[in-house]
């Protein structure tokens, strides 16, 4: 297939996944800040949401204070934020439009319909309830798009590139949540039974919709080291770094088989997957959770570049 087509398929998926991620961050942050102040945090939740979204500089340039109104506006519809939900969906549609023929009509419908609907939301002044509905709607757009891709795309290179976009972006998102919240998970900060931390931790889990999963997997009270284990190393958890890399490696192998040629991207993904499979969470904590995550984010974007060089240019 055309390199440009593959590139667009890859990015359509990344942008849709990112839009969903932003909706999840906003949703989890609203929950946290809505708690009575006895249970709530230090009032830095909205700043933390901006950091998790990875757009601190752009936000600082557009606003002074990180409060609910500013952050919600910035992460949803702000034109100067290249990664606002609006711009993510716009980029996804624009990429999709350029490669219309490579998408199934269901996928196009999902994106084009979302784009038309988005303009209705954008014009409204939303109260809290409507805003919550809007966030649900964004998550739903991603679900419908993802489901359409899963159900209707031919299982060939187009599908694999589109899936690679999903998992590279998802791995990046999960890692970013951990990167911002790592201090919450560190033993030094652990105060047994402290309600403050408990809600911070569950927020991390909510941001990746893993709260229920956590209880099923560990059958224990919420503990930071197990949260990190779930999000980094547990392959049963669909947003964990290990699960993402299992998929990335599988789809890269499928490409390698179909094209009859392996390359640096396959080797890179396999190496990262092996590291994740052969590491224990205790040793990550010993060597520094923060460093581990920082390295992972760099390594993950390195793989994205390698995929670009090998296939997309």
């Amino acid at each position: 297939m055309l390199s440009r087509t593959a590139d667009s398929l890859y990015w359509v998926s990344r942008y849709v996944e990112r839009a969903e991620y932003l909706a999840r961050i906003l949703d989890a942050t609203s929950r946290l800040t809505n708690l009575p102040s006895d249970y709530g945090g230090a009032g830095t939740e909205w700043q933390s949401a901006v950091s998790t979204a990875g757009c601190e500089d752009e936000f600082a340039a557009a606003y002074g204070e990180a409060n609910e109104r500013n952050v919600c506006e910035f992460l949803t519809f702000h034109p100067d934020n290249p990664s606002s939900i609006r711009n993510c969906l716009a980029q996804a549609r624009s990429n999709a439009r350029a490669v219309r023929t490579a998408l199934t009509s269901e996928m196009w419908d999902a994106l084009n319909g979302a784009w038309l609907e988005l303009q209705r939301f954008e014009k409204k002044r939303m109260d809290r309830e409507e805003f919550a509905r809007f966030l649900d709607w964004v998550k739903n757009v991603s679900l419908v798009f993802d489901g359409s891709a899963y159900r209707t795309m031919l299982r060939d290179d187009g599908y694999w590139f589109s899936r690679l976009g999903v998992y590279i972006e998802r791995a990046d998102n999960t890692a970013r949540i951990l990167d911002v919240k790592y201090h919450v998970l560190l033993p030094a900060n652990e105060q047994v039974g402290g309600s403050l931390d408990y809600f911070q931790w569950t927020t991390v889990l909510r941001e990746v919709s893993a709260l229920t999963a956590y209880h099923w997997v560990y059958r224990e009270a919420v503990k930071p080291i197990l949260i990190a284990d779930l999000l980094i190393l547990n392959r049963r958890m669909p947003r964990s770094l290990a699960a993402c890399y299992e998929s990335i490696s599988r789809f890269l192998d499928a490409l390698g088989d179909a094209y009859g040629r392996q390359g640096p991207a396959q080797r890179h993904a396999r190496k990262t997957l092996a590291t994740l499979n052969n590491t224990r969470i205790e040793s990550i904590f010993q060597h520094g959770l923060h460093e581990f995550i920082e390295d992972f984010i760099i390594d993950n974007s390195g793989l994205s570049n390698t995929i670009f060089e090998q296939y997309l240019q």
């Binding site: 055309l2 390199s3 439009r97 023929t101 196009w108 084009n112 094209y259």
Partner: protein, 471 residues
């Protein structure tokens, strides 16, 4: 001036082809029709069939209004039209081969040589070059207007990159979905085999050195082009890659696409980029849409471009006025389709007449298209007429003039109900190594403003489904 109405003739009768449609219009409850109209619009919006209007900042993507009342042609009407179209396109191709080759028609004095040689669309690159299989104009859109029960005029030949065929197909698709009952009572000739015919045409003109299953692609200027929807629609229906200039590269006079598995050789390019932009090494050097070296590959015989480079010399409005003579010279037959009577302002006698009758005439720029740069005398104010008078005096060779035709009308849904509106017709004619084909009908464009004769979508025109009845 009373126009011929395709449903009611002079207004008194009911022409037989519209019999059942008339009954349906009278019987269907107005709410139902209104509902179907909004469903049609929703359908077009959902599938993203839009076009861009240049210079319109407000909305970069707009829908072309679709009218749900079809335009109906009978089988005998179509049979004659089709014969005329085949003859016309045969002549266009022979004319192009001649002006870039033996130049017999110039020697015979059929057309003044400077109209060819000084034409901006005449490409010196093409002189004495043998195009693959001798076909220049693979895809032609011939604009036809009707003035009475028996007379169709050719208004314009489009021999470069005619657009609109996706609307022809999508209009039918919408009608089939929304009004299945109408198709049960009418035997409408299908149009959905157009992509098959186009693909067969493109395959037939692959270079002789190409493999038996040639690689074909469609070259688009990109998603900001007004016809991008159509480009992606056609690529999809043809099952070929939709490429932009940057997706192609030329090495040793061979064209390749950049794919995820490395460069892949291309044999036939259905290009929807104008000559000027196709190769910055040969034409406009500032073009970023084109492919450097593609003309070299073309002339080395390693790739076929459809349409060929330089076809614009045949659809020029000044050359148009000579088409009856051109048809006769090359085919040896009387033209089946007439030209609209045309005054050539380059000829002093004609220009004098035009200057005296500006308020009655339609004056067109020889190189204009899409309804831009045109004076419709009866609808123009004094200032517009005087401005054209100055232009005509300054450079008469840049213009032609035609009488204001009473284009036929067709019943159309407008705010006030069903009313007659002027229509034209663009059938699409395909020429390959194995001959000419043409799907029945084409794209009917309708001027939605009352009394307006300008059907171009950029000027507020709409479209209709076009039916050729099989019985």
């Amino acid at each position: 001036m009373v126009a011929f109405d395709e449903m009611t003739g002079s207004g008194q009768e009911l022409r037989p082809a519209y019999d059942a449609l008339d009954r349906w219009l009278k019987e269907a409850p107005p709410e139902t029709l209104a509902l179907r109209r909004s469903q049609a619009e929703l359908f077009f919006r959902r599938i993203g069939i839009t076009f861009a209007v240049y210079g319109d900042e407000e909305s970069t993507e707009r829908l072309i209004p679709f009218d749900i009342i079809p335009r109906v042609l009978t089988k005998p009407e179509w049979t004659r039209l089709e014969a005329g179209l085949r003859q016309r396109v045969t002549a266009l191709n022979m004319f192009l081969a001649d002006v870039y080759g033996a130049k017999e028609c110039l020697k015979a004095g059929i057309i003044p040589p400077d109209l060819v040689y000084r034409n901006a669309c005449y490409q010196l690159e093409m002189v004495d070059f043998q195009v693959p299989h001798g076909v220049y104009c693979h895809i032609a859109g011939i604009d036809v207007v009707r003035v009475d029960a028996d007379t169709f005029y050719v208004l314009e030949d489009n021999a470069r990159t005619p657009s609109g065929v996706s609307y022809m197909m999508e209009n039918r698709e919408v009608m089939l979905r929304l009004f299945p009952e109408l198709f049960a009572t009418h035997r409408v000739a299908p149009v959905d085999n157009y992509p098959d015919q186009l693909l067969a045409t493109l395959r037939s003109v692959a270079p002789r050195s190409a493999p038996s299953d040639p690689t074909i692609c469609l070259l688009t200027p990109g998603q900001y082009n007004s016809a991008f929807y159509e480009h992606s629609f056609l690529a999809d229906k043809l099952g070929v890659e939709l490429v932009e200039g940057s997706d192609l590269l030329v090495r040793d006079d061979v064209v390749y696409m950049r794919t995820t598995q490395g460069p892949k050789r291309v044999d036939v390019i259905y290009r929807r980029i104008d000559d000027d932009f196709i190769d910055p090494l040969v034409f406009r050097s500032d073009s970023v849409l084109g492919v450097p070296g593609i003309i070299g590959a073309y002339k080395a015989g390693n790739v076929t471009l459809a349409n060929a480079v330089g076809t614009g010399v045949a659809d020029d409005k000044a050359v148009y006025s000579y088409m009856p003579e051109i048809v006769k010279f090359f085919t040896g037959e009387e033209p089946i389709l007439k030209n609209v009577p045309t005054w050539r302002c380059r000829e002093p006698q004609d220009n004098a007449y035009v200057l005296d009758n500006l308020e009655k005439l339609v004056v067109k720029e020889v190189n204009g298209s899409g309804g831009y740069g045109m004076l419709v005398g009866p609808h123009a104010d004094k200032a517009q007429i005087e401005s054209f008078r100055r232009k005509l005096k300054a450079s008469p060779e840049g213009f032609i003039a035609q009488p204001t035709l009473a284009l036929s009308t067709c019943p159309t849904f407008v705010a006030s109900g069903v009313a007659p509106r002027h229509v034209d017709l663009r059938p699409y004619v395909l020429s390959g190594a194995n001959g000419i084909s043409c799907v029945p009908g084409g794209l009917t464009r309708v001027a939605l403003k009352e009394g307006s004769l300008v059907v171009n979508s950029s000027q507020g025109g709409g479209t209709k489904d076009t039916w050729v009845l099989d019985a």
